[in-house]
């Protein structure tokens, strides 16, 4: 076979694999949507997942956000040119946290904490044939396993992002007032400058999409786990990587689409 033919065959195989992967995920998404028809299956589990994803992640989220806000504000203050009014620190800190760092870092942290756990749980159920047992018992495994996690993800990520933004701004204020020459009035002036409610909505839109991405990717990778414990580990690592990349891509897309509407 000529080299050109081999390259073409390889490209065809890759393209076919990519399309099949997309198709499988589309079917999985369809099964999630179909699972909504059976509320008795997913509502109790959704509450449990909301606690796992949301309530149990609050301490980690607040700690990460507090450090994030403090460091952002501190760095912003000391990167200002002489002569710039100090209220700019509040403005930059707010915009950085609310529009970008709050949703993004919260999602990335939760990918490691919640997403990996999702994949490992579902993957273990897959390799121990518990999912097959559910099917045997006429349970819809997607409605029972994936849909509650997906719903919990899209609900709790925005909740956690609100907490994260609040904690980060409070932390930024505390650090600035205690460690720099920025006064509370300067910080509040900047915090209020050019603020619109849509900036919060923008942050929540990102959180919603990130929550959906984490839950969907991690559930799917767990659901299709193969080859025993090693497969669970591989699926978990792959899920974290894919979810993280998805979060970054979604972040860029949302910024490209919505950033013109939040220009200060």
């Amino acid at each position: 076979m000529r080299p050109t033919g081999m390259v073409v065959r390889l490209a065809e195989r890759r393209a076919e694999g990519l399309l099949r992967a997309l198709g499988k995920r589309a079917y999985f998404a369809r099964d999630i949507v179909r699972g909504v028809r059976d509320p008795g299956t997913w509502i109790p589990e959704t509450i449990r997942q909301m606690r796992t994803i949301g309530v149990e992640s609050v301490p980690l989220t607040i700690i990460v956000a507090a450090f994030l806000g403090g460091v952002t504000a501190f760095q912003t203050r000391y990167q200002l040119f002489p002569g710039v009014q100090l209220s700019v620190v509040g403005l930059i800190t707010r915009q950085s946290i609310v529009l970008e760092l709050g949703p993004l870092l919260t999602a990335l942290v939760l990918t490691g904490r919640v997403g990996a756990r999702m994949t490992a749980e579902i993957g273990t159920m897959r390799v121990t044939e518990q999912i097959d047992a559910l099917e045997t018992l006429a349970f819809d495994p997607v409605a029972y396993l994936a849909l509650p996690r997906f719903l919990a993800g899209i609900v709790m990520l925005p909740v956690l992002v609100v907490l994260a933004n609040t904690a980060a701004i409070i932390s930024a204020w505390g650090i600035l007032v205690t460690s720099t020459d920025v006064r509370t009035s300067d910080f509040l002036d900047g915090l209020r400058l050019a603020f619109t409610a849509f900036q919060v909505v923008y942050s929540l839109i990102k959180a919603f999409l990130f929550g959906a991405a984490i839950a969907f990717v991690c559930s799917y990778e767990g659901y299709v786990t193969e080859a025993g414990a090693e497969g669970v580990g591989r699926s978990t690592a792959l899920a974290v990587v894919i979810a993280s990349v998805c979060i970054l891509v979604l972040d860029a897309l949302v910024a490209a689409v919505l950033a013109p509407f939040i220009q200060a």
């Binding site: 449990r48 606690r51 002569g83 956690l160």
Partner: protein
Amino acid sequence: MTTKRRDELLVGLLLLVAVVLGIGGTIWIARGGLASGYPMFTRFKWGAGLKQGQPVLLAGVQVGYVAKVDLIPDGTIAVTLKLQSQYKVPAGTTATVQANGIFGDQLIALTPIIGRQGYMSAGDTIPTGVASPGVPELLGKGDSIALNLRALTDEARTQFVAGGGVKDVRQTVADLTRLVAQLSAVTAEQSKQLTLTQQTVRRTLASVDSAKVDSAVKNLQATSAQIEQLTRDFKQTNAQVQGVLDKVNNGTGTAAKMLNDPAVYARLDTLLLRVDSLVMDLKKNPKKYINLRIF
């Protein structure tokens, strides 16, 4: 409490906290606090650089913020101000856009008139005042100053470099240096002479006999007393002479009459004529008058 109920409670609590924080925080930031304020309005020309959230200052004190900026097709922007309830805007106050810092941010300054009575009402439109020069105007002034400085620099270069001014200045400086050196030498010499003179004076003062000085001083005092007595006598004599002269001038007394009476003069003149004629007659005829006999 079952696990299910506890999960529901915790999730519900978290959702409630998030909703309160999200909505409350947004309102707090957007409205400048949870306290209710009141709106006021003003208008500026296009390009004022205003945006929501910029501070509003009344006589330098922040009393609110820009709540809304609406573009009006007639070339103006309608600005809604949200002012805190505890502040009232005095009547006659004007609004201007001023630079906040040097990097293009703006604020609205409300300038009241001192002594004006009454306050504006909520919802009133604050008239626009005369704005202070902004950054572009200041930059324009800076450009103008820079051009003038450049012209001065060029002229100075022409005069000092091309015209040989620097050489002259150097020569002058050298001359001045020499002059200063000469003056220093003269000063040193004068200082030396002064020192010698001072030493001589000190020696002279040291050699003066204090007894002689006392004697001389006493003599001077006695002489002074005598001069004083002499002066008194002279004054007395002068007064007496003055009195005589006064009498003479007044025409009282014999001397005054001799001096002042013309009749006395005429008699004396006649007397002298007669004496002259008698003397002549005596010379001519001595025997008439002198009859000398011896024995």
